[in-house]
Amino acid sequence: MIFDPILDLFRGKAITIPPLDGAFRANTALDDGQVFADLPAADNLCLAGGKLHATSDADLYVLSEDGGREKIMTFAAAVTALAARPDGTLAVALDDGSLIESGEPVALPKGVGCITALAYGPDGSLWLANGSERQRATAWVADLMEKNASGSVWRRKPGADFSRVAGGIAWPYGLLPDGEEAIVSESWRHRLLRVGAGGVTPALMQLPGYPARLTPAAAGGAWLAIFAPRNRLIELVLQEKHYRFDMMAQVPRAFWIAPALASGRSYLEPLQCGGIRTMGVHKAWAPSRSYGLVVRLDPNLIPLESLHSRANGSRHGTTSAVEAYGRLLVASKGGDCIVATEDA
């Protein structure tokens, strides 16, 4: 009804989050999976030259099929994005805003300094997601709490410079090139977008968490990593501007009422009374700040199934998933490991 927006001023807009049902039905697949490799703050999985590469803060590792790891490089700042060409050439983005390709720095357009995702298209184009114009990539939680929507997607065609494809995106965090277009995960609006010459169109809405990296699935479609859950308390805080800014000014960032890559490690963390633990037992269905979730999408981006590490699990903060060595490997940044599942 046309009066609903006016009535909402008086009755308050419902703060709700989409249920974890259908393809998102909760399970313990990520916690049941074996640890492929222990890696602190594991992030950015990608295959280059048939070998799995992963990052851990500023370190870049190559991981063998048995999970053995070899550090091949330490960068000046934390690695925020990683992509590989079919020939094995690596593009590495750092938290200081720089981009390195084949070991050489790449000139970036003005305003690009928060690279959250990189991907090579089949034509050799390099797609780049710039998460924010106001924050660095590692300060993602501040960008969310400021409710910024200054992210952009860029494309560098072979032999050309970067050109802006889309802007005004609320933290683009994953890229999946699809011909002349790309699928982008827009974290703060919990959705996937299709961006290209035709503009920006929503491709999948109302995700139950904050989407991160996208990688292609061998059988068609894609894997989408979701790095944190939506939570009604956080949604409420996001609506309360004065509270939010006071919290950001006065409370250490680790203890903000905000999504997290891991939780439950300090008694100072915000809790919802008995909502998380009851009689010392951590409830699996609790509305926690962190979660682990990887979703299998079909070629039309319809969710088919999902792998979870629930509130009482430990493989949280899933930022990246890739099919490698005949398995699906999931980087759990909050769980400090790479998990292997048999779902690939």
């Binding site: 009755r11 308050g12 709700t16 049902d21 259908g22 393809a23 109302q206 088919l304």
Partner: protein
């Protein structure tokens, strides 16, 4: 203890379909006897025979040592058998006291005297109900109390309670159970019908379980436990090809999310429930009567309104919606096929075509200013053929059709609206077996065409046979989602009653 009532080989058929078949049942003096079974198991029919609401087709009933046959509830009440219905039979425009004394008034009544004696009587039962209050102003629980008080007031020797605790709060339930125990001490025999197994195990002396109209188990309560009761309630043979086990390799994959219901509430009937419905799938919704499943989907289809404050959110095709009338939902592409076809689904005295045309009008799919009778006839012919509606001609009035064919008209009325989400609420209730198979085919075909289909049913084999995913509703919310791969009747029932 001697049996105060003995029912032998009781059979009751409706249009040659047996609701209860050759059931032996006995009720002893001063016992509480729990009668359990799924919806449609025959519990209510058996007790209605006992209370004279319906007459048995065959069988014998012995009450206090004499063979009896009650033609009316009044006869049974005079003999000392009272029934407290789930939906109360009080007169809303009369006071509590007047309802208590209804049917047993003296020639000259002094209202003040009635109120005083009603007050004393209600106090003796520990019921905090004002005898001068109009019944229409009372909540469900208090109405239930008045109903119970009326049965006790008539000095019934046998009282039948049909789902008495469904509308009571935990505190009221405690009072109610204390009352049952006091009645028992006074030698009153009680038949207690409930879906709450804990209550049956807590309060009853003996338990009888019916399934598909037949007696499957009876015995002292201490010989039963929860699992044994559930197994007896659902352990039926699957009835032939109609309800053969689902081939799980043929499950439909979910399509786009069409409907997302998030934390919707409506009073005490629907409480913070959340779920999604996907296109190209049949989403089965199971729940016992009073679990809030119908109310939930009536909110979705704009028939009921969710709470004004804190009522949650509904998203249809990625668009937030809040319907104030069913017509808005129909125009958006939501068709609700009602469980109560007679009062909500069809215009009985209109023809098939006129009913179908009504569906078109409500969806605003008929834009002409002049109604052409030929268009109505064409519509009737097309849908009569498509849904295989058996009728003498397409001009026939709907009232002349059988239950199954009436149901097909209700379905057709929804489908002419070209919906994207179809909600079937108990579509096979009161429908013969042949029509059930046809309705199932229609439901499956809609899902195969890519529509989002919701199938609400309280018949477990139907849910298991049709659904691509199963939602279980209990106490106003969806409490469990099961895949047909893992679902068993026991698991579904367990979720529905725990």
């Amino acid at each position: 203890m001697d049996a105060i009532v003995r029912m032998e080989k009781i059979t009751k058929t409706y249009r040659s379909v047996p609701a209860v078949k050759d059931v032996d049942f006995d009720l002893r003096e001063g016992e509480i006897h729990a009668l359990l079974g799924e919806n449609g198991a025959g519990k209510s029919t058996l007790t209605k025979v006992l209370a004279g609401v319906v007459e048995a087709t065959s069988g014998k009933m012995i009450y206090q040592g004499k063979a009896v046959r009650f033609a009316t509830p009044h006869e049974a009440l005079r003999a000392g058998i009272a029934m407290v219905f789930q939906e109360t039979s009080l007169v809303p425009s009369m006071t509590v006291a007047q309802n208590l004394y209804l049917g047993s008034e003296k020639f000259l009544n002094r209202l003040r005297g009635i109120y005083i004696s009603a007050q004393q009587f209600l106090q003796s039962l520990n019921f905090s109900v004002d005898p001068t209050a109009m019944v229409e102003t009372l909540g469900a629980a208090k109405r239930q109390m008045v109903e119970i008080a009326r049965a006790v007031h008539h000095e019934a020797r046998v009282i039948i309670f049909d789902e008495p605790t469904a509308s009571l709060t935990p505190e009221e339930k405690r009072h109610f159970f204390a009352l049952l125990r006091r009645l028992k001490e006074r030698g009153v025999s009680i038949v207690f019908i409930s879906h709450a197994l804990e209550e049956a195990l807590l309060i009853s002396d003996r338990i009888t379980i019916l399934r598909d109209g037949e007696l499957v188990a009876t015995g002292p309560t201490d010989t039963f436990d929860r699992d044994k009761i559930i197994a007896a309630m659902v352990g039926r043979r699957l009835s032939g090809a109609l309800y053969k086990k689902r081939d799980v390799s043929q499950l439909r994959k979910p399509g786009r999310k069409v409907l997302s219901v998030q934390d919707i509430s409506m009073g005490a009937m629907v409480r913070n429930t959340s779920f999604s419905v996907f296109e190209g799938q049949i989403t089965g919704v199971f729940g016992l009567i009073g679990s809030g499943r119908t109310e939930t989907f009536k909110i979705v289809s704009g028939i009921y309104k969710r709470d004004f404050l804190g009522g949650g959110a509904v998203t249809f095709e990625d668009r937030p919606v809040r319907y104030y009338t069913p017509a808005e939902a129909v125009r958006d592409g939501i068709a609700y096929v009602t469980e109560d076809r007679k009062s909500e689904g069809i215009f009985e005295t209109m023809s098939i075509g006129e009913n179908l045309f009504g569906g078109l009008l409500s969806a605003k799919r008929e834009t002409g200013t002049v109604i052409r009778m030929q268009a109505i006839r064409d519509l009737a012919e097309a849908w009569t053929e498509r849904l295989n509606i058996k009728t003498i001609n397409a001009d026939a009035q709907v009232v002349e059709l059988s239950g199954g064919n009436q149901q097909k008209v209700v379905i057709g009325k929804g489908l002419v609206q070209k919906p994207r989400l179809v909600i079937f609420d108990e579509p096979t209730r009161g429908v013969d077996v042949a029509a059930i198979a046809e309705i199932h085919q229609i439901v499956k075909a809609l899902a195969d065409q890519g529509l989002a289909v919701v199938m609400i049913s309280s018949y477990l084999p139907e849910i298991m046979n049709l659904s691509d995913r199963i939602l279980v509703c209990r106490q106003g919310r969806i409490v469990e989602e099961l895949s047909p791969v893992e679902a068993t009747e026991e698991k579904i029932m367990y979720a529905a009653v725990h």
